[in-house]
C-alpha cells in the first residue's frame, strides 16, 4: 500500500473565516439597528435605506447568507479535505466560489438598501442576483463533488452526508422559489400568486432554516465536536436514522408557517403532523452530539471550543422542540405574528448558528496558524457575554410576544375588544429596549472574539498548504467485520445525492402539486378583480419599502381578528397577488381590510408623520414618498408581465393603462384637495409615489366587501370543505 503525500488548502478556509468575521459583525450591527428602530423609529435619520423595512432584509440576509453562509463554506472546506484525505478538487473553483459569494453579498446589500426586493422573505434578492447565486452554488457543488470523488477514504463520513443533502436541497429550493418574470434589470414578479405563492415561499423559507441553518451545521458538528473533544461519535446507527428521517420529514413542515391562513386545511394539517414527527430526528442530532461528550465533560469546563459547542447543541435541542410545539394550532394561534417567533428564531440563530460558528473559529484558527489561542480567558468572557446576551434577548421577546397576543385576544364582558392595537404596541416597547441590550451584549462578545483571533493570528504563522499523507484508495475494500447495510451507499456519493434528492422531493411534490392543480383548493370569488395600474404601482412601493415586514395581510378566523379587522381572509382574494404579501409579523396592525377604512387624507398625513394620526406609534415616517415619482414608462411592461402570469387584463390594455392611472390619480388628488391638502411645498402631488401607495392601500380587501353576501359565505364553506 503506497502512502501518498498531498497538501490541504488552508488559504480558502482562511478567506472564508475572515468573511465570517466581517459579515458577522455587519449582520449583527444591522440587527441591532433594526432592534433600536422598534422603539426609536427616527434612528432612520429620514433616509429610505436606513428605515426598518429595508434594514430588516439586510439584517436577515447578512446573517443567514453572509455570516452563516460563509461559516458553512469555511467549515466544509476545512473538514471535507480532511475527511476525504485530499486537497479540494480545484483551487480555481475555490477562488471563484469565494469571490462570487462575496460579490453576491455586496450586491445583495446594495440592492436591498436601494429598495430592490422581490418581496419574499429570506428570498428578497432580485433575479440577476438569484441567477448568480445559482451559478456560484453550482461551482461549489462541482468543487465539493470533485473532492469527494477523488477521496482517499473508502467511505464518506456522516458530516459529508449532511453536506450533500444540503447542497442538493438548497439548489432545489432556491430554483423553485425564485421563478419570477423580470420586467426590468432589477424588478420582477413572482411566477406564483396568492395562496400558491405563500405555500412555495414557506416551503422555501422553512427549509432554508432546515437546509441552510441546520443540516450543514449538523455536518460541522459531526466533524468539529469529536475532534475537539477527542471522543468517538456516540452512535453510528443514530446518525443513519436521524439523517434520513430529518431530511425526509423536514421538507413537509413548511405549512406550519401558514396555520389558520387561507391555505387549504389539509396542507395546514400536514404541516402540523410533520412538525411533530420532526422532534425525534432533530433530537437525534442533539443526542449524538451531547453523548459524544460522555467522558469528556471535564474538558468542557476547560476548553472554550467545547463550551461554545455544548451551548450551541443545547440551543439546537431547545429550538427544535419549541418549533414543533409552535406548530400545534392552539399554540400557533397565540404565538404567530408576535415576537414569540422572533425569540424562537434567535435561540436558533444566536445559540445554535452563532455559538457553533464561534466554536469552529476558535478551533481552526489556532490550528491553521500553528499556534494556540491567544487568550482562553477572553474566550471565556466572550462565552459569558454571548450567553447573557442571548438570555437578555429572548426572555423579553417571549414575554412581549405572549403579552401582546393575550392583549389582542382580550374582550370586555360587553363583548368589545379591550385594547386598541396601538395600546398593545406601546405596552411592549420597554421589552424591545431590553432586547436591544441583549443583542448589543452579544455583539460586544463578537468583538472580543475578533480581537482574540487577531491576536492569535499575529502570534502564529499561517500554514497555507498543510502537508498530509494517506494511502491511495484501493479498488476493492474488504470489510474487516460484519458490514452495516448503510455502508453500501457510503461508498457511492452520487447515489447518496440522488437518494437525498428523492427524500426531499417527496414532501414538496405532495404539498405543492395539488395546491396548483386542484381548483377547489382556491375557490374563486367573482368580485375579485385585477389591480388598476396605479394600484399596481402602489403595490410596488409597498413591496419596495418592506411594509410586509411589519404589517400582515391575513385576517385569521379568530373572533378577535374578525372584530378588529373585518371578515377573515379567503383564498380567492389573493389570486392576482404576485407576490403574496401576507407577512409573518404584526408589529403594526393587519392591513388585509384597510381599504376604505380611513380617508385618503388620513393615509397622506399618516405616511408623512405617523405619530400625528396615531400618537405613540412606532412606525417611521416616509417623507421620500412625497418626492419620488412613479415610473409610468414601466406601466405597459407591468401590465404585460401580469397578463403573462395569468392576470386577465385585456389585450392591448398596456397602452391605455396610463390613461386610467392618470384618472385614478386625479381622483385621489381631488379627494385630498377636499381635505385641504394641496400638495407638498406648493408643488402638485400628481405622479408621486404616495398617491400610488394610497390607491393601493385603499384597494386592499375591498373586493370582497362589494361581493354579495351569499357568495363570500359560500366561498368560505368551500375553504372549509377542504
Amino acid at each position: 500500500m503506497q502512502v501518498e503525500k498531498f497538501y490541504y488548502d488552508n488559504k480558502t478556509v482562511k478567506m472564508f473565516a475572515y468573511a465570517v468575521l466581517l459579515w458577522g459583525i455587519v449582520g449583527m450591527l444591522a440587527g441591532l439597528w433594526v432592534a433600536i428602530a422598534l422603539y426609536y423609529p427616527s434612528i432612520n435619520l429620514g433616509f429610505a435605506p436606513t428605515t426598518f423595512g429595508r434594514m430588516r432584509p439586510v439584517h436577515t440576509n447578512a446573517v443567514i447568507f453572509a455570516f452563516v453562509g460563509n461559516g458553512i463554506f469555511m467549515g466544509i472546506y476545512y473538514s471535507l479535505q480532511r475527511l476525504c484525505k485530499t486537497r479540494m478538487f480545484s483551487d480555481v473553483l475555490s477562488k471563484i466560489h469565494f469571490w462570487g459569494w462575496q460579490l453576491i453579498i455586496v450586491a445583495g446589500a446594495l440592492t436591498l438598501w436601494t429598495g430592490h426586493t422581490s418581496g419574499k422573505e429570506y428570498a428578497e434578492l432580485e433575479w440577476p442576483i438569484d441567477i448568480a447565486i445559482a451559478l456560484v452554488w453550482v461551482v461549489f457543488g462541482i468543487n465539493m463533488f470533485g473532492t469527494i470523488l477523488k477521496r482517499r477514504e473508502s467511505h464518506i463520513y456522516v458530516a459529508i452526508w449532511f453536506y450533500i443533502a444540503t447542497w442538493v436541497t438548497v439548489a432545489m429550493l432556491h430554483i423553485v422559489n425564485s421563478l419570477e418574470l423580470p420586467i426590468s434589470f432589477l424588478k420582477s414578479y413572482s411566477m406564483y400568486a396568492g395562496v400558491q405563492d405563500a405555500l412555495v415561499q414557506w416551503w422555501y423559507g422553512h427549509n432554508a432554516v432546515a437546509f441552510f441553518l441546520t443540516t450543514p451545521y449538523l455536518g460541522l458538528m459531526y466533524y468539529f465536536l469529536p475532534k475537539a473533544a477527542n471522543r468517538p461519535i456516540y452512535s453510528y446507527r443514530l446518525s443513519i436514522i436521524h439523517f434520513w428521517a430529518l431530511i425526509f420529514i423536514y421538507i413537509w413542515a413548511g405549512p406550519h408557517h401558514l396555520l389558520y391562513t387561507a391555505l387549504p386545511d389539509w396542507a395546514q394539517s400536514l404541516g402540523v403532523v410533520f412538525s411533530i414527527m420532526l422532534i425525534a430526528p432533530s433530537w437525534g442530532g442533539m443526542l449524538n452530539g451531547l453523548f459524544t461528550l460522555r467522558g469528556a465533560w471535564d474538558k468542557v469546563r476547560e476548553e472554550p471550543v467545547l463550551k461554545f459547542l455544548v451551548v450551541a447543541i443545547t440551543c439546537y435541542g431547545m429550538a427544535t422542540f419549541e418549533g414543533p410545539m409552535l406548530s400545534l394550532k392552539s399554540v400557533n394561534a397565540i404565538s404567530h405574528f408576535t415576537d414569540w417567533t422572533i425569540a424562537h428564531v434567535h435561540v436558533g440563530a444566536l445559540g445554535w448558528n452563532g455559538f457553533l460558528t464561534f466554536g469552529v473559529l476558535y478551533w481552526i484558527i489556532p490550528k491553521m496558524w500553528n499556534t494556540t489561542l491567544y487568550s482562553k480567558k477572553l474566550a471565556g468572557t466572550h462565552f459569558w457575554t454571548g450567553t447573557i446576551g442571548i438570555i437578555l434577548y429572548v426572555i423579553p421577546m417571549y414575554w412581549a410576544g405572549f403579552t401582546q397576543s393575550m392583549m389582542w385576544k382580550t374582550f370586555t364582558e360587553e363583548g368589545q375588544l379591550k385594547f386598541q392595537f396601538l395600546e398593545t404596541v406601546t405596552h411592549i416597547v420597554p421589552m424591545y429596549a431590553v432586547r436591544s441590550i441583549g443583542g448589543a451584549l452579544y455583539l460586544v462578545g463578537a468583538f472580543i472574539m475578533v480581537y482574540n483571533l487577531i491576536k492569535t493570528v499575529q502570534q502564529g504563522s499561517f500554514v497555507a498548504d498543510e502537508a498530509a499523507e494517506a494511502p491511495a484508495l484501493e479498488k476493492n475494500i474488504v470489510p474487516h467485520s460484519k458490514e452495516y447495510w448503510h455502508r453500501w451507499i457510503e461508498k457511492r456519493p452520487m447515489q447518496m445525492l440522488v437518494f437525498s434528492l428523492i427524500a426531499v422531493a417527496i414532501g414538496g411534490v405532495v404539498e405543492l402539486i395539488p395546491t396548483f392543480l386542484v381548483k377547489s383548493n382556491i375557490p374563486t370569488i367573482s368580485s375579485v378583480k385585477p389591480y388598476t395600474p396605479l394600484e399596481l404601482h402602489g403595490r410596488d412601493v409597498y413591496i419596495r419599502e418592506g411594509c410586509y415586514l411589519c404589517h400582515s395581510q391575513m385576517v385569521r378566523p379568530f373572533r378577535d381578528e374578525v372584530a378588529r379587522y373585518g371578515e377573515y381572509s379567503k383564498a380567492g382574494e389573493f389570486v392576482y397577488d404576485h407576490p403574496f404579501q401576507w407577512g409573518s409579523k404584526r408589529t403594526g396592525p393587519d392591513l388585509a381590510r384597510v381599504g376604505g377604512k380611513y380617508p385618503d387624507s388620513w393615509h397622506y398625513n399618516h405616511m408623512m408623520d405617523p405619530q400625528s394620526m396615531s400618537p405613540g406609534s412606532i412606525m417611521p415616517s416616509y417623507p421620500w414618498l412625497y418626492e419620488d415619482e412613479v415610473d409610468t414608462l414601466l406601466t405597459p411592461k407591468m401590465i404585460w408581465a401580469m397578463r403573462k402570469l395569468g392576470v386577465p387584463y385585456a389585450e392591448g390594455y398596456e397602452y391605455k393603462a396610463n390613461d386610467d392611472l392618470r384618472q385614478q390619480e386625479q381622483k385621489i388628488v381631488t379627494s385630498l384637495k377636499g381635505d385641504k391638502i394641496n400638495g407638498v411645498n406648493g408643488k402638485p402631488i400628481n405622479n408621486k409615489s404616495i398617491v400610488a401607495l394610497i390607491a393601493y392601500l385603499q384597494r386592499i380587501g375591498m373586493d370582497i366587501k362589494s361581493a354579495p353576501k351569499a357568495q363570500t359565505a359560500q366561498s368560505g364553506q368551500g375553504v372549509m370543505g377542504n
Binding site: K227, S235, L238, I279, R294, Q420, K676
Partner: protein
C-alpha cells in the same frame, strides 16, 4: 426457569409497546368528544399531558425492572447450580411472580380503552364519564408506578443482600459481572465507557471513530409516539371529523361569545341599543365621550367636530339622521360605503351613548374651519327653529 424468563421477555417486548399504544389511544379518544378542539379544554389537555408523561415513566421503569429482574434471574440460577443452596428458590419465585405482575398490570391498564371507545360517541363536552375515565387512567398509571417502584426496591434490596454475601464469603470466583450503571445510563441504554472497545466500529475519519451504541429507547419510542400522534391527528380531522377545522373553531367561538355577551348584558346596565338609548347630560358622561372622540374620531371629523373628511358634526344637517338614536346607530353599525366604520367592537354600548351625547353637545359651537353642511336639515322633535347661534346651544330635547 431460564425458558420461562425468555418467554416472558419476549412477551413483554410485545406487551409494552401495545400498552403504550393503548395509553396513547385513550387520551386520543377522550379528546374526541370535547367540542372546541380537543386541546382547548384545559382540563383535558392537562390530563392528556399527565397521562402521556406517566406512560413514558411507566415504560422506562418497566424496562428497568425487567432488565434488572432478568439479570438477577440468570445470576441466581447460576449460583444455585454452583452452590446448590435451597434458599435461592424462593427468591427466584418472587422475582418471577413480580415480573408476571407487570404483565397483569399492563393488561389492567389497557382495560379502560375499549370503554372509552364505546363512550366517546355519546358525550359532548367533558362529561362525567369522560372525567372519570381520564382520572381512572391516571389512577391506574399511578398504581403501576407504585408497584414498579416497589419491585425496583425489592431488586435493589436483593442486590444489596447479594453484595453483602459476596463481600462476606469473599468468593473470588464470582466477580461482579453486572456493570455499575446509573439510572441515567439505563435510561439512555448507555454502555459503560470501559466497554466502548466492544462497540467500536473501526471507522476512522481523520481520527474520528464511531461507536455502535443502541438508539436511546426513550428517543425511539418518543419517535413512535409522534408518528401515532400524526395518525390520530389526521384521522380525527379527515376520517372521523371529531376535530374541528379552523373555520369551525371560529364559528363555535363566536357563538359561545354571543351567548356569554347576551347573558352578561341581561344583568348589566350596559344593555342599551339604538331603540333605548337616552341623551346623557351629566358632565362625566360628556367628558368620557369627548375623551374617546379626541382619540378615535378626530382624524375624520376634526378636533372640534368641524369636519375634515367626515361631515361637520356641529351644524343641523345630518346625512343619517341627527337624533340621539340615529347617531348611536351610526356609531354602532357604521356606514361602510361612506367611510364610517362600525365601532361596536371597539366601544361598549354605554361608551357609544357617551360619544353620541358628546356629539350632540357640539351642536352650534361654530368651530373654525367648519366644513359646509351635508345631508338634510334635521329638526329636533320638540324644538322650534334650527339652531344657528350659540344661544340655542342649551336647547336640548329628550
Amino acid at each position: 426457569m431460564l425458558l420461562i424468563a425468555n418467554v416472558f421477555k419476549k412477551a413483554s417486548k410485545i406487551a409494552l409497546p401495545l400498552f403504550l399504544l393503548f395509553v396513547t389511544a385513550v387520551p386520543a379518544m377522550a379528546e374526541g368528544p370535547t367540542p372546541p378542539s380537543s386541546l382547548s379544554n384545559p382540563f383535558v389537555t392537562l390530563m392528556v399531558i399527565i397521562i402521556l408523561f406517566l406512560a413514558i415513566i411507566i415504560f422506562m421503569m418497566g424496562r428497568l425492572v425487567i432488565g434488572s429482574g432478568g439479570l438477577y434471574l440468570e445470576r441466581w440460577k447460576k449460583e444455585t447450580e454452583e452452590t446448590k443452596k435451597n434458599s435461592a428458590a424462593p427468591v427466584v419465585t418472587t422475582i418471577v411472580l413480580l415480573l408476571l405482575s407487570v404483565q397483569v398490570f399492563a393488561q389492567d391498564s389497557t382495560a379502560p380503552a375499549p370503554a372509552a371507545a364505546s363512550a366517546s360517541d355519546n358525550f359532548g363536552g367533558i362529561s362525567s364519564t369522560a372525567y372519570y375515565l381520564l382520572c381512572s387512567v391516571v389512577f391506574v398509571e399511578l398504581l403501576l408506578i407504585a408497584v414498579l417502584l416497589y419491585m425496583l426496591r425489592v431488586f435493589a434490596g436483593i442486590q444489596k443482600k447479594k453484595k453483602a454475601i459476596v463481600a462476606a464469603t469473599n468468593t473470588a470466583a464470582v466477580k461482579s459481572a453486572v456493570p455499575e450503571l446509573s439510572w441515567w445510563d439505563r435510561f439512555n441504554a448507555l454502555k459503560p465507557i470501559h466497554q466502548e472497545v466492544n462497540i467500536d466500529l473501526g471507522h476512522d475519519y481523520d481520527g474520528i471513530r464511531e461507536l455502535d451504541n443502541k438508539l436511546p429507547p426513550w428517543w425511539l419510542y418518543g419517535f413512535f409516539l409522534t408518528i401515532i400522534f400524526a395518525g390520530v391527528y389526521l384521522y380525527s380531522h379527515y376520517v372521523s371529523h371529531t376535530a374541528m377545522s379552523g373555520i369551525e373553531e371560529y364559528e363555535a367561538s363566536v357563538k359561545q361569545a354571543d351567548i356569554e355577551k347576551t347573558e352578561y348584558l341581561k344583568k348589566s346596565a350596559n344593555n342599551i341599543d339604538e331603540t333605548t338609548v337616552k341623551l346623557l347630560t351629566a358632565d362625566a358622561d360628556i367628558a368620557a365621550g369627548k375623551a374617546v372622540f379626541q382619540v378615535s374620531c378626530f382624524p375624520c371629523h376634526g378636533k372640534n367636530g368641524e369636519g375634515i373628511v367626515g361631515p361637520n358634526l356641529t351644524d343641523d344637517y345630518w346625512i343619517h339622521g341627527g337624533s340621539i338614536q340615529d347617531i348611536f346607530k351610526t356609531l354602532k353599525y357604521g356606514w361602510a360605503d361612506k367611510g364610517m366604520k362600525s365601532w361596536k367592537d371597539d366601544f361598549s354600548p354605554v361608551q357609544l351613548a357617551q360619544i353620541a351625547s358628546y356629539v350632540k353637545s357640539l351642536r352650534g359651537t361654530n368651530p373654525a374651519n367648519a366644513k359646509a353642511a351635508q345631508g338634510t336639515l334635521y329638526t329636533e322633535a320638540g324644538s322650534a327653529a334650527p339652531a344657528a347661534t350659540d344661544s340655542t346651544k342649551t336647547k336640548k330635547a329628550s
